[in-house]
């Protein structure tokens, strides 16, 4: 594959634009998890009794908090490489301008996916910080003290690569920007709800195996286990799933993008 340093320059371009307006970019990502924590964790969680995770009893809000980190990792990358990349590609002609330089189209796509993953990392790290603050101030149940918590940011980046590459596949395929409604409705929203975020997938009963098809199920499993300092054989499997899917979706995204943009 025709890949070089150019990907970093593409990443830098997007980072420059983002940090130019960081104030408006950061505020929503701080308040949203706060709202979820209070509404779902406190309000709804008060109704939940007898919840167990991996065979152990757990407070609902403690179960929920890592789910919120996973959700922000998913949305961060998927939004960036769907709507964000499409606007740059189609409306702003940014990709056309860049490929006239020694940067190749492969560099552009990989740079965009790396930037999408960075958005996942940034957003979910903010969520993690909000959780830490709330754990310290209000909800002792979400004080995460295990050292494996340090693995969470790199995992959100990895998850970000996967969701960004997945989004890029749709960006290469959709006829117009409104068409992104379909992947959001058919893929992202089901993952948001059923990907081990708001309740353990064991609740799905006979449908539980299907949840393992969803990428979010694996990334949320990893993020929750690392946040809580737990481990299960499934973690390794989840990691393999994420790595393989990231490679496969990235490859497909580059192939389809080249097909779309090479004329």
């Amino acid at each position: 594959m025709n890949l070089g340093r150019g990907a970093v320059a593409v990443w830098r371009r997007n980072a420059d634009v983002f940090f130019k307006t960081w104030k408006t970019n950061f505020l929503p990502s701080i308040f949203e998890p706060l709202l979820y924590l209070v509404a779902m964790g406190l309000g709804f969680g008060g109704l939940v009794v007898g919840l167990t995770y991996a065979g152990q009893p757990i407070d609902y809000i403690r179960f929920l908090a890592p789910g919120l980190i996973s959700i922000s990792a998913m949305y961060g990358g998927f939004f960036e490489c769907s709507y964000g990349s499409f606007v740059r590609m189609h409306y702003q002609k940014t990709f056309d301008a860049i490929v006239a330089t020694p940067v190749s189209l492969e560099d552009v796509i990989v740079g965009e996916i790396m930037w999408g993953a960075s958005k996942s990392l940034i957003n979910s790290t903010i969520v993690l910080a909000v959780i830490a603050l709330m754990g310290w101030l209000l909800f002792p149940a979400i004080q995460f003290t295990s050292l494996t918590l340090l693995l969470v940011p790199p995992i959100t980046f990895l998850a970000g690569l996967l969701f960004s590459a997945l989004a890029m596949i749709f960006t290469a395929l959709v006829p117009n920007i409104d068409s992104f409604n379909y992947p959001f409705f058919l893929l992202i929203t089901p993952m948001f709800l059923f990907g081990g975020t708001f309740f353990p997938i064991s609740q799905l009963g006979a449908a539980e195996p299907f949840a393992y098809i969803l990428p979010l199920t694996h990334t949320s499993l990893l993020i929750r286990d690392m946040s809580l300092g737990m481990s299960s054989p499934l973690d390794l499997l989840a990691l393999v799933y994420v790595l393989v899917m990231t490679a496969a979706t990235s490859y497909l995204a580059v192939r389809l993008m080249k097909k779309r943009l090479t004329r």
Binding site: R13, K20, T94, A97, V99, A100, T101, V103, S104, T262
Partner: protein, 304 residues
Amino acid sequence: MPPVVVARDLVKKFEDLTAVDHISFDIEQGEIFGFLGPNGAGKSTVIRMIQCVSPVTSGRLEVLGMDVRERPREIKARLGVAPQDNNLDPDFNVIQNLTSYARYFGMPKDRAVRRANELLEFMQLEEKRTVMIEKLSGGMKRRLIVARALINDPDIIILDEPTTGLDPQARHLIWERVRQLKREGRTIILTTHYMDEAEQLCDRLVIMEQGKFLMEGTPRQMIADVVGDCVMEVIDADDEAERYLRTQGQQVERSADRLYVYSGECRTINQEFRRLYPEVYSVIRTATLEDVFLRLTGRRLRER
């Protein structure tokens, strides 16, 4: 010195449309080479193949001695391209457009800033340094696109319709800069559908239509070969006057309300015509590339 661009039997097909149809040409180091032709002639398609962003369907295409299929990165590093459609980065202001673009060439930050400031001065945009792109007029955007094309100090500068839609003042600034760049020893490849632009700027040019070259050479030599040095232009000739002119045995072309009489003898023909048809307006003028196109195709390039 070997030519900087060599094309042999170059073809580009889009599905069943042949946009570039077996053309061959050489572009020499240090010249201004023009592709002149109407919309849809295939000018941009040739340009996009030279700049290694559009795959060649068949034929040979070498830029700076390198095959476009094999060494696109190296070629692109030494080209500066001002594309036909504005693709400035709307997320950045004027100077950031240049410095962020410099990064794609791997240029270090301090050199990029220095070069960007020089170029803003060169294109008379210093005062717009921190203005966002959407606030620029069409002419300023065009100038910034040209400045951006120069950021990497290119050996070959490609300008795809650099003055389309610009007012005369903005056009003249760009023409002036193009000449200046040529004096610096750079090779310039230009496309245009303006006859006067091609005539004013190009050392050599090709007239292109439907993917093929109708003619090639220097503007003067083309005019001399095809038209001669003068043209008689007749406005609103009635049928009888037209019949008369056609019996003069010379090449006569009609375009809308005008007749063009091409002949080495056109001064004599005009004198006689004035005597016979004093009520019809006619005039003698020097021949232009527009006349070349009209004679070759029977049509004008662009309706006035």
